[in-house]
Structure formats: C-alpha cells, structure tokens
C-alpha cells in the first residue's frame, strides 16, 4: 500500500519535470525558427527549418511524456482543471503547428505559433497545479474525449491566429498611424499582458507572497488569500495580514464567487504589467512594435500566409465541431440529462462555432481574403480565449474549472 503512494509521488515529480523540459525545448525551437528570418539562402533556410521542426517534435514528445506520466499518477486523464486543460491546449497548439508546418513548410509560423504555445503553458502554471480528484459529473470517458478534441480544435483554430498575425504585421501599412496600426498594437499589447501576468505571478510566487482578507461571501465570513499584492480587495473585506500593501479599491459586487476578487486582481496586475512592458519596448524601439517587426517578415508571401490561416480554420472547424459541440452534447446528456442547456460555457462554444462558420462563409465572398480574414482570425482567437478564461472568471457556470 505504502509503495503505491510513493510511486505516484515520484511519477508526478517526473511529470512536472518533463513539462519544464518541454517548455525549454519549445523555447529553443522558437530561437531556431527565429534564426531563419535572417537567412536569405533558401537551402540553408530549409535546413535550419528542419532543425527547428525536429526540436519542436522532441519538445512535443517530451510533453506527451508529461501527459502520460501525470495520467498514471492521477488515475485519470489530466484535463480536469484549468492548469491541466491549458497545458494540454498548449500541447495541441504545438501539434497544430507541426501539422501545418508539414503542409506548407513556412518557418515563420514557428516564430509566432510556438510563443503563443509557450505563453499558454506558462499561463497555465499560474493556476493551482496539484492533482485534483474528479467530482462525480467529471467521471466519464466522454469528459476526456470531449475535452481533448475540443482543445485540439481550438488549438488548430489558434494557429489561424498566429498566421493572421504574421499577415497583419507584414501587410498593415506602417507609414503613419491609423486605426489599423492602433488595433494591431492593441493585439500585441494583449499578448504582452499575458507575459506581464506570468512575470508578476512568478516573481511573487518566488517570494511566497501572501495577503489574507476576511470578507463576506454569500453572507458568510470567509478568508481570502491573495498571492499578488491586492490592488483590488474583496468587497467589504478586511485585511488581516500586517504590513501588506493596498488595497486601493474594492472588487465590484457583481463578480461572484470566493475567487472573484483574486482573479479580478490578477487581471489588474496583468494589464498593469502589460502596460509597463509595452511602454518600455516603445521607448527602446522608438516606434510602433509592429513596425519594428515588419521588416523581419518581408520574405513571407502574404497570399501563402493567408492560405495557411484559412487552412487552419478549414482543418480546425470540423475538429472543433466534433469536440466542443457534439461530444460535449453527448457528455452533457449523460451527466446532466440534457445535451444542451444554455450554460454560459456552452453558449460561448456555440458562439465560437457560429463565428467560424461566418468566417468560412465570408471567405466565399470576394474581398474577404487577406487582411479582413486575418482580422477575423484574431477575433476568433479572442473569442476562444474569452471562453477559456473570462467565462470561468466572470460568468461562473456548471463548468467552473477554477
């Protein structure tokens, strides 16, 4: 008996080490793909690209190792909390990239898709990482089937965003500031917010920062612990920790749940950190960020990048439908006796699906390829991220993961 406990402990340690390893391997692969930007010789470019994809695949296999060992340690597929789901999503992003790389062989895609995956995985580790038991409604094979397929679908759709972003940075006229350049900067700022959040979270995590409040939740006094300095405290909360910073104001009351103030605070921190990073970058570069990246993307053929973006939607849409709509319905029918219940998470899956259906139909219309389509790919990704994070945060439904 004792032995089993020891073994699962060991497995979970191996598992998290494998995850770390895959993270750094992806990082390495990103730099290798980055190197192809400067290589103008086609042959050398091809070679470096091969090394890059090779390293990516090694990273992917390492992460599969993480997934399998954690599965053994937990006794169930590790897709049952936000950390596990996002990590898996990151893994599928890499998988989606590998597929599209082999169809089109554009190395630039690696330079954009892998950082998105890295961000997602790092972001995931900001959530509680311990192995959690399954509540009864999650105990179903359909859960694994649904979650993995849905994540794969979303990830392939997200590759469309990576390609769309390349297109926009490559194509949006940067000679003077326009609405388009501002939106583009806003997208980059959004990505920097994620970077900022990870930086802040890691820093305060490293020093074991904690500030505890006592506040009424559902008319009961509850202790709420912050792991980042509270910019926004809980509504009517009282700070128990001595010599702690803040809070500057209170979380609005319509955000519900014990964790709402903590999550709201995290959002504030990520926006704040994003602003700082963006500001510093602007000062260093002395021009718009997209404008600084643009010359690096000159070798990309816009039409090819556009096709990659579209192809990702074409491949991802059926997978998403199967995972996030059909398998989800089958599971919901078993677990909650109705295949569709208009729960916010379900509605946002439907919105995602309808949005990409609209995307596909617009592509049939002249004038919607290229830039417009790239903007749509960005909006699609925003919807996916909203469903992943904001719906859990702001609107808590049956799927409340975190």
């Amino acid at each position: 008996m004792k032995q089993k406990g020891g073994m699962t402990m060991e497995l979970s340690v191996i598992s998290s080490n494998l995850l770390y390893a895959s993270f750094f391997i992806y990082l390495l692969a990103t730099f290798i793909f980055g190197a192809t930007v400067k290589v103008s010789n086609e042959k050398t470019n091809h070679k470096v690209g091969n090394i890059g994809i090779g390293v990516t695949i090694v990273g992917f296999l390492t992460q599969i190792g993480y997934f399998v060992t954690r599965w053994f340690a937990a006794g169930h597929a590790p897709v049952s909390n936000l950390f596990e789901f996002m990590t898996f999503f990151g893994m599928m992003l890499v998988f989606g990239f590998i597929i599209l790389f082999f169809i089109y062989r554009i190395t630039l895609l690696g330079l954009f898709a892998l950082p998105v995956a890295l961000l997602v995985i790092a972001y995931a580790s900001m959530f509680p990482t311990e192995i959690s038991p399954l509540v009864p409604s999650l105990k179903s094979h359909w859960l694994y089937i649904h979650v993995t397929t849905a994540a794969l679908g979303q990830a392939i759709l997200a590759i469309s965003f990576a390609a769309g972003l390349i297109y926009l940075i490559r194509q949006v006229n940067q000679e003077k500031a326009t609405k388009r350049t501002r939106w583009l900067e806003f997208i980059l700022f959004g990505l920097l917010c994620a970077v900022g959040y990870i930086a802040v979270g890691t820093t305060f995590g490293a020093v074991n920062y904690e500030a505890t409040f006592e506040a009424p939740v559902n008319e009961q006094m509850t202790q709420i612990t912050y792991e980042m300095p509270p910019i926004a405290g809980p509504a009517d909360g009282e700070l128990l920790t001595e010599r702690a910073f803040g809070p500057l104001f209170e979380t609005p009351g319509w955000m519900q749940g014990v964790n709402a103030p903590v999550k709201f605070n995290a959002i504030l921190w990520s926006v704040f950190a994003g602003l700082v990073i963006y500001g510093v970058l602007r000062l260093l570069l002395r021009k718009r960020i997209a404008k600084s990246i643009q010359p690096l993307l000159k070798s990309a053929s816009p039409r090819l990048v556009d096709e990659v973006s579209y192809r990702a939607v074409a491949i991802g849409f059926p997978v998403f439908t199967l995972g996030a709509i059909i398998f989800a319905s089958i599971w919901a029918q078993e677990a909650w006796d109705r295949f569709w219940g208009w729960d916010p998470k379900e509605v946002w899956a439907l919105i995602t699906w309808l949005f990409y259906a609209a995307f596909l139909h617009l592509r049939l219309t002249r004038g919607w390829e290229g830039e417009r389509s790239a903007w749509l790919a960005v909006i699609g990704f925003a919807i996916i991220m909203f469903n992943l994070l904001a719906v859990n945060l702001i609107i808590s439904g049956l799927h409340s993961y975190a």
């Binding site: 004792k2 937990a74 006794g75 105990k139 319509w254 439908t321 219940g341 719906v391």
Partner: protein
C-alpha cells in the same frame, strides 16, 4: 425562357455566366458574377445559372433572393452570435439560485442594468420568440441558399467538356503557355493518374479532375443542420419529449411519472461518498483535498428497485399490484435506462430529511416527568394523538420547514427539513393548552401552560432527486449531427481540383482551378508537368500581387 446557345453548340439555360460545356464567358451575363474585363474569372459555382441571379420580378423571387444571399446568411449568423452573447451577461432565469424571485433578483443583484435586462426579457433569451425566429430564418436561409446553388452547380459539373474556350483558359488564376512541340503526353497522363486525377479527353484536349465529391460537402452538412433544427423543433410536440422530476425518499415506492402508472421505483438507499484523505488510494489527491474548504464528493448514487404494475388496466385509486423488474443503480453519468425509452438520472438529493419525531408530555418545570409519548410521521402526520392516560394532542398546524420571520413562524418549503408543530394539549379534566414545538424551540404561547411537549427522538432519511426523461428527438438530432460531420469533413479535408490541358499549334496551354488551397494545387501541377516538357504555369493572382507590392505595402526597405 431565353436560352443561350454557345458557339460550341451547347444550349445553356437563362442566366448562365460561363458556358456549361466549354466555359466561354457570355458577355451579357458577366455582371452576375461581378466579373470585370481586366480581372481573372470569378469561378463561383462554375458560372452556372442560379435562380437568384436570374429572376427578380415577383415577390417569390424577392424572398428567394433575400434568403439565398450569403451576405444575409452571414448577417443572421452574426446577429445570433451577438444575441447569444447577450444572454450570458447575467444568468438566465433557469440558473438563478432556487427560490429566488426573478422580478426582484435581477434588480437586487445587478442594479439598474439587471432591471433592464429582466424587462427586455433577456432572462429567458434562448426561448424568446425572436431568438427562435432567428433560428428559423437561419434554417430557411440554409435551405434556399443550398437549393439555389446545388442544382445548377451539379448540372454544370456534369456537362463540362474537356475542350475549353480561349477566354476561359486565359482568365484562370493558374495559367501557363508553353511554346514547344516536344511534349510527352504519355508521361503527363501517367503523372496525372499517379496523383489520382481522373482524365477526360476530347480531341486531344484533357480535363483532369479529382475530388468532385468534396463540392457536395456544404450541401450535405447543411442537410445535417436542417435535421438538427427540425429535431430541436419537434421538442415542442408533447409526445416527443418528456421531462419530469421525482423526489423519492429512502424506503418509499413511487410511481414513475410519465409511464401512465405502469412503472414504479423504490429508493432502497441513497449514497453520497466523499473522497477520504486517509485512504491510500487517494494519496495523489492529498494536497488538493487539503486545499479544499469542505469534503469533495466522489459519488452520488441511488440504489433502486424498478417495479412494473401487473393489475391492468390501471384503475385510479386502486392499490397497485407490483412485480419487481430489476434492481438498478442511478449514478451521475450512469442513468437507469428502462425498456420503454425512459431514463432516470441522478440529479439531486436531500440528506437527513426528518422522517418521524417522537415527543413526550411532561411538567413544564420538570423534564423527568413523563405522561406518555407519541410519534409523528412527518410524511403523513395524524390530526390527533391519544396518550395512555387519555390525554389528546391535536396537531393544530405543521410546518415541514419553518423559519421565524419577525417573530411569526412561517413555512419555507413543504419538505421536512426543519419541522415544527403547534399542538393543542387536552389533559382530561384540565384546560386546553397550546404549545409550539420544533427542533431547539419550544414556545409556550400563553405563558401559563402547566405542561410541555418535548422532543425525545427523531429519525432521518435521505431523499433522492431523479429526473425522468424520454426524448424521441435524440435519434433525429444525433443523425443530423452525424450527417453534418460527414458533410464538413467531405468539404474541408478534400478539395475539388481541375487541370485543363489544351494542345495548340504553338505548343500547349495549361490552366488549373481549385475551390480552395491554391498553393497545394500549384504544387500538384508543378510536379505533374515536371518531366513532360510543359513549363510550370503561374499563379496570375500572385504575379499581380507582386506587381502591386512595393508601391503601397508600407515596408521600409532598409538595405538591399
């Protein structure tokens, strides 16, 4: 009908843009596909004659044209997206905490915005008439748009001929002219075949085609969607869909709603298991369980026995004769399924509901006295209880779940969760006294009582909440979903590619078309012509892009 006879001899229906047989663009109809003389041909639906492009006079035409427009279709989808998102701003009525009153809940919880939300009916958005109307419009649009395109496209693709008109060839996106007489046609055909193209030949002209079936993908998936929508609509037919809820107490046998009194269920035991931190089997969850504020549920289960009634036909009021069918367990994710299509789902529970309470009558000042005991069955309380010494205790009022509100006892629910009673105690030869008794409360209304009714014991049991469902629309919806999947995969994972090869006096012309993924087609053609003496054709669109690029793409050329 003004049919168009092409110079190749083929007779085309009115409204044709490109001749069905040879592809010649008909001057007078180019505007229908927005074609401009200097541009490449718009190949949508192969320039076939669509009803919506041809007729626009009568009201029927106008309605048809409205719904067959992709612009309108996309608009409907986008409106649905926005409406659906609106419905998630605040919780829908069905997700409000039990017992809350929507008329006040939205205002209290979300302020003035909540009030507006409620007033606009957004608290029941997904069943509102306008949301359903949008879905209906979506359905109509899908049907009309599909018919409008499928029929002419199908006919045109069947009539196409390998020999193509000059203007058709030149205005294809992928096009190339090779000036050479040394062309290896044998090798070319071999290459085409090895790439799985089907070759049609007409006087030396070649049409190589593959994956035409993928063109039908959208229509197949649209049929699937329509089936799903129809299935969902059938829910409104009462015979198709049943949704009932059943509370069954432990030890209780109840008729299963919706079975016309034919089936009964007995709740033998309701089980709630939580994860045990001490259990070695849960050691991997140790850390997580410690971080939880309460116990984490592991299993909800009802051990039940299903009975069938044997004394048919059912006579109302008559005690049923039951025969055991089987024992069954309902767990979350594992409903009990009966032969008649009914499923019982573990949906809810109530723990430790009171089943009976035992009281004794004693002197107000002395708890050790005992003038007799009586037991109240909380499901079927009697009106009056008689003690051995002749005392009668009348149950004046019974509150299954009571709460003191402003000093007044009020009934919160009809479930015995916190029972309380008003007793009238009549000891022979003495005045009637009124007592209020519950758990932890014992109030003497007048203040002058001699006796007191005190709680000595109680029994509890669990109650299971089961949903009873029968849904004949499920097979239709599942079938529709399957058709949809087949259709999208068919349309998305294959594409329709055609390559035309036309021998000319000077050499050979090559053109190519695909409905999507041009780079892949280009790669196909490059490999096919590689060793045949034919020069690889060019992507005329890409060339045009390149010519335009540099002028306006805003890239600052640093070095070069």
């Amino acid at each position: 009908m003004s049919e168009i006879t092409c110079e190749c001899g083929h007779v085309n229906p009115e409204g044709t843009v490109l001749c069905e047989a040879c592809g010649k663009p008909f001057e007078e109809n180019q505007h229908l596909n927005d074609n401009k003389p200097e541009q490449l041909l718009n190949m949508r639906y192969d320039g076939s004659a669509r009803r919506s492009q041809t007729y626009q006079r009568t009201i029927v035409d106008k309605i048809w044209n409205f719904f067959s427009s992709v612009k309108i279709g996309v608009s409907i989808i986008i409106i649905l997206v926005i409406a659906s998102a609106l419905g998630t701003v605040f919780p829908q009525e069905m997700y409000l905490p039990p017992g809350s009153d929507p008329t006040t809940h939205y205002k209290e919880q979300y302020g003035i915005l909540g009030q507006i939300y409620y007033q606009l009916g957004f608290h029941n958005l997904y069943s509102s008439w306008w949301y359903l109307l949008l879905l209906a419009m979506l359905g109509v649009s899908i049907v009309i748009a599909s018919i409008d395109r499928f029929v002419p496209l199908f006919k045109t693709l069947r009539k196409q001929k390998p020999k193509r008109h000059v203007n058709f060839m030149k205005k294809q996106r992928i096009f190339g002219e090779t000036t050479s007489t040394d062309i290896d046609y044998k090798r070319l055909k071999k290459n085409l075949k090895s790439k799985r193209y089907k070759i049609h030949e007409e006087e030396g002209h070649l049409l190589a085609e593959k994956n035409r079936f993928s063109r039908w993908g959208p229509y197949v998936n649209h049929i699937g969607l329509i089936l799903v929508l129809l299935g969902a609509m059938l829910r409104f037919v009462p015979a198709m869909y049943m949704d009932e809820f059943l509370w069954v107490r432990e030890g209780e046998t109840k008729e299963i709603a919706g079975t016309d009194g034919l089936y009964y269920i007995k709740n033998e035991d309701f089980i709630l298991e939580t994860y045990d931190m001490e259990d070695e089997a849960n050691s991997q969850f140790q850390e997580s369980l410690q971080n939880q504020s309460g116990p984490v549920p592991e299993n909800y289960q009802t051990n039940a026995v299903i009975y069938e009634r044997t004394d048919l036909p059912v006579v109302p009021g008559k005690e049923p004769e039951l025969e055991k069918v089987r024992e069954a367990e309902a767990r979350v994710n594992h409903p009990i399924e009966l032969d008649n299509g009914i499923s019982l789902y573990q949906a809810s529970y109530q723990q430790n509901e009171f089943s009976s309470m035992t009281f004794k009558l004693h002197d107000k000042g002395n708890e050790d006295t005992d003038y007799g005991q009586f037991t109240v069955n909380l499901i079927e309380p009697k009106d009056e209880y008689t003690l051995d010494n002749g005392t009668t205790i009348r149950l004046e009022r019974y509150f299954p779940e009571f709460e003191l509100q402003d000093g007044e006892p009020t009934q919160v629910s009809k479930f015995p969760r916190n029972p309380a009673f008003i007793f009238e105690v009549k000891v022979p030869g003495e005045e009637t006294e009124v007592s209020f008794a519950g758990i932890g409360v014992n109030i003497d209304a007048s203040g002058e009582n001699d006796y007191k009714v005190g709680l000595v014991d109680f029994q509890t049991r669990d109650v299971t909440g089961l949903t009873v469902k029968r849904d004949y629309t499920l097979p239709i919806i599942a079938f529709g979903a399957a058709i949809f999947m087949i259709g999208v995969i068919q349309g998305m994972y294959w594409n329709h590619r055609r390559i035309w090869i036309q021998p000319k006096d000077t050499g050979v012309w090559v053109a190519g078309h695909t409905n999507k993924n041009w780079f892949a087609l280009k790669k196909d053609i490059d490999r096919i012509v590689a060793d045949t003496g034919i020069e690889p054709p060019v992507d005329q669109q890409e060339e045009k892009d390149e010519a335009e690029r540099g002028n306006d793409d805003g890239i600052i050329s640093d070095k070069q």
